[in-house]
């Protein structure tokens, strides 16, 4: 059922950006060029539809890097299936955010 979910282009773009690894909100904004008012609500909806899941980074890691902890988002199995469908629907998706670029920012 999840694989048949029709995503908007924005949601697909965010899903594609998350695909390569753990990502957090501001990182996604920089990657996609979308404003905060679009990225975070999209993340909530994707999480509600169980296409992604979120996880807080361990405090010790954040402390070691002297910054606040990040909330990372990861694709679920249903999210990966949906992304496959979205790539067929939006063929330019992989060109907009190639997996290599995503990895280099992660």
């Amino acid at each position: 059922m999840a694989g048949e979910t029709k995503l908007s282009h924005t949601a697909a773009l965010i899903l594609q950006a998350i695909n390569a690894g753990s990502m957090y909100g501001f990182n996604l904004m920089e990657m996609t060029g979308l404003p905060s008012g679009t990225v975070y609500p999209a993340l909530r909806r994707l999480e509600r539809d169980e296409l992604i899941r979120s996880q807080w980074e361990r405090q010790a890691i954040a402390d070691a890097e002297q910054r606040p902890p990040r909330k990372y988002y990861k694709l679920t199995a249903a999210g990966r299936l949906t992304l496959e469908g979205a790539r067929k629907r939006y063929p330019l998706l992989e060109r907009l955010i190639p997996p290599e670029e995503v990895k280099s920012h992660a």
Binding site: Y24, G25, F26, N27, E30, P35, S36, G37, T38, V39, Y40, P41, R44, R45, R48, R67, P68, P69, R70, K71
Partner: protein, 497 residues
């Protein structure tokens, strides 16, 4: 300096925006949501600070980022909380909008360092009965006149009028600041019991007890803590250097709450107060009056002569004067501005809400109560918005108390309250007394007559079909204020939805 204040203002605004957006999120998710956005704001600030862009555009980008929090909060509310299905209620809409504006103003104001400092200055007061012992010959500015030897003598002598005394001496000293440089600052050297005698709790205090042989303690002023340490609570416990001396920061004093001579950047606690600096050894003594001392103080009016050694009290060289209190704070000043605005209101607007003697029909007492409650709620919200907005404007550009900020708060508080109350009355006069909708569709009716007896004015109606409002073009003795005409059910066909 100006840029630093503006940056503080922007940072406060950004935190305030996140705080007010968080109010829209369901309570059980709020802390997690705010933690994520605060963390993300840190990343935004960190990344944007590294860009070679004008700082104003960087700050604007950060504010834009924070504005996105409202869309996110709204999304969460819509998805995860219970949607409250409301009928279109114009009065409720108005109250909700005003409440939202109040939340934003309050969140922005309370996140500004200057506002927090002002609130702290009223919360952290010196205890009553404190006096400052100074030179008896000084007329306006207090002059230090107590030598360390005299103070030590007093400490070992049984005091009749005081139940606590502390020493206090100001000096200009070279302090190592962040970034490796040094800066000349006003430093107060005080006896170890200084804060105990003052009775003022510190804003921040080191948790662990001082170990034997540890470096002497320094208490930062609120202004220095904000300016040099970015209001970071972790500054407590750090060490700093004054000349060759190493000091440990033991706490932060609340802003402007210590009405003492000089404006020291920090207080150094310890016996160094008794050593002279550049030949200047005299200081002040802070004393707390015992019951007997209070009686003697009252007998002399506003001071008490202090005899040194066997001096005759009538020819005393020292005098104790009451420490001036930090004033009533922003709440009292704001309240006074609002009180004046209420007094001035009849001068700028007619306070009448309109007559209704054109028809025998009257709304039920319940509807009349709702109408008055709506007006009171609206005025209360407008006044609160004016209070917080004036605080934000006055203290947005300063991190501590200043007379200019106090004046700005008073002036803007008065102006905002007056304009707000004027709007509230004007708005009320254009709302149907039955359903509190705005009357609409103004229509010019009648013609101007030379005798003023002909009807000439504007007519508006309530879209719910309850009332018509007649507003005279030229107020006359027989038609001075707007009049409401209540419509009976025979008019219903005109307003059928």
């Amino acid at each position: 300096m100006m840029r630093s204040l503006l940056k503080n203002f922007f940072y406060g605004t950004q935190r305030g925006l996140l705080g007010s957006a968080a109010l829209m999120v369901a309570r059980e998710r709020r802390s997690d949501w705010l933690k994520e956005w605060s963390g993300e704001l840190w990343h935004v600030r960190y990344e944007t600070a590294r860009r070679a862009e004008p700082w104003l555009s960087v700050e604007a980008e950060r504010v834009r980022f924070c504005l996105g929090a409202f869309a996110d909060a709204w999304c969460l509310r819509g998805s995860f909380s219970i949607r409250i299905k409301l009928r279109h209620r114009p009065a409720l809409d108005c109250i909700l909008w005003l409440a939202c504006a109040l939340c934003v103003c309050a969140a922005v104001a309370r996140s500004l360092p200057g506002v927090r400092a002002e609130e702290d200055s009223t919360r952290y007061r010196v205890r009553p009965g404190l006096i400052l012992i100074q030179d008896a010959g000084s007329s306006s500015l207090p002059i230090a006149a107590v030598s360390p030897e005299e103070f030590r003598d007093w400490q070992t002598t049984r005091q009749r009028f005081f139940d606590g005394i502390a020493y206090y001496r100001n000096a200009l000293e070279r302090v190592a600041v962040e970034g490796g440089g040094t800066e000349m600052m006003q430093v107060a050297r005080v006896s170890p019991n200084f804060f105990a005698v003052l009775g003022t709790p510190l804003l921040l205090r080191e948790k662990q007890a001082t170990e034997a042989g540890a470096a002497p303690e320094a208490v930062l002023s609120y202004e220095m803590w904000v300016r040099d340490f970015g209001a970071n609570p972790a500054a407590v416990g750090h060490v700093l250097r004054i000349g060759d001396e190493t000091l440990r920061i033991a706490g932060v004093a609340p802003s402007s709450s210590l009405p003492l001579p000089g404006e020291p950047a920090m207080w150094v606690l310890g016996t160094s107060a008794y050593r002279g600096h550049d030949g200047d050894t005299d200081g002040f003594v802070i004393a707390h009056l015992s019951h007997r001392g209070q009686v003697a103080f009252a007998a002399h009016g506003d001071h008490i002569p202090v005899a040194v050694g066997g001096d005759d009290p009538d020819q005393a060289m020292l005098v104790g004067v009451a420490l001036a209190d930090a004033g009533e704070g922003p709440g009292a000043l704001g309240g006074f501005a609002i009180f004046l605005a209420i007094l001035a209101l009849p001068a700028v607007v007619s306070v009448s809400l309109g007559e209704s003697n054109f028809s025998a029909f009257r709304p039920s007492w319940k509807r009349q109560c709702v109408r008055w409650l709506f007006l009171v709620a609206k005025m209360g919200l407008v006044i609160s918005i004016a209070f917080y907005a004036s605080m934000a404007l006055a203290y947005g550009f300063t991190s501590a108390y200043s007379p200019t900020a106090e004046f700005a708060q008073f002036a803007t508080g008065f102006a905002f309250s007056l304009l707000g109350l004027r709007w509230a009355l004007f708005d009320q006069r254009h709302r149907c007394p039955v359903c509190l909708r705005h009357v609409t569709n103004p229509t010019r009716v009648g013609l101007a007559s030379q005798t003023f007896l002909g009807w000439n004015g504007t007519e508006m109606f309530c879209a719910g079909g309850h009332t018509l409002l007649h507003v005279p073009a030229l107020p006359t003795s027989w038609f001075a204020v707007p009049r409401w005409v209540y419509l009976d059910s025979s008019w219903g066909f005109l307003f059928t939805p």
